[in-house]
Amino acid sequence: MSLMKLPPWAYLLLALAPVPIMFLPIFDSLPSAVGKSVGIAVLFWCLTMSWLHWRNLDEPARVAHKSSWYCGGAAGLGAAVILSTAVIFWPEANSALVAMVSEPKHGSPESQAFFFGVVFAAIVQLAGTLAAWLLWWSRRS
């Protein structure tokens, strides 16, 4: 069995496999150029495996992905907007967020806050996509 013809789920596991590297304590002590190079290599690996995953999906599985991304992803982004707006009016969450970004390891507090915002939106969007994907298949199994 070649690397080009694995079951689709295997490519997802391969895509996610190197991601924990980014959270190892040693990653912070690496020289900046090395850290960036490792980060770019991991990103390139994830994109390649995601492309192979998509390439090996059959038609209904692709339709499930597209439908889930469109409906679930959009609903997730809508939820992210509502939740992030709620944080502004929720003092505890607001002070927790300020504490998280006040002393960043890298970059400025503003760039850290922007990074958290993007990651938060992506996580909620992915959660919406996953929920819609599960619903799509549960209605067709």
Binding site: D58, E59, P60, V63, W137, R140, S141
Partner: protein
């Protein structure tokens, strides 16, 4: 605009399809997994198509027809609703 949407939904309901894949598969003594292998799709996909919960695209419908050696219209049948009659 709302009327157009309602009309589109009603038209969609009027052209629901059914298929003879389960019967054709049984005639050939194929399991869903064997048919899936011949079509190069997953068994879940075969099950969704066979039970009418997923309507395949035209290219996939042609592939299904080729596997059974039949024409598309011999496999996929238009399920007439009362609005057609």
């Amino acid at each position: 605009m709302a009327a157009l949407v309602v009309a589109a939904v009603l038209m969609q309901a009027a052209i629901d399809m059914k298929n003879r894949i389960k019967v054709l598969r049984a005639e050939r003594d194929w399991t869903q997994a064997e048919l899936a292998q011949r079509l190069d799709v997953s068994r879940n996909s075969v099950n969704a198509i066979e039970t009418g919960k997923y309507d395949p695209s035209l290219p996939l419908a042609f592939r299904i027809a080729d596997v059974f050696g039949l024409r598309i219209e011999d496999i996929f049948l238009r399920e007439h609703s009362q609005s057609d009659q």
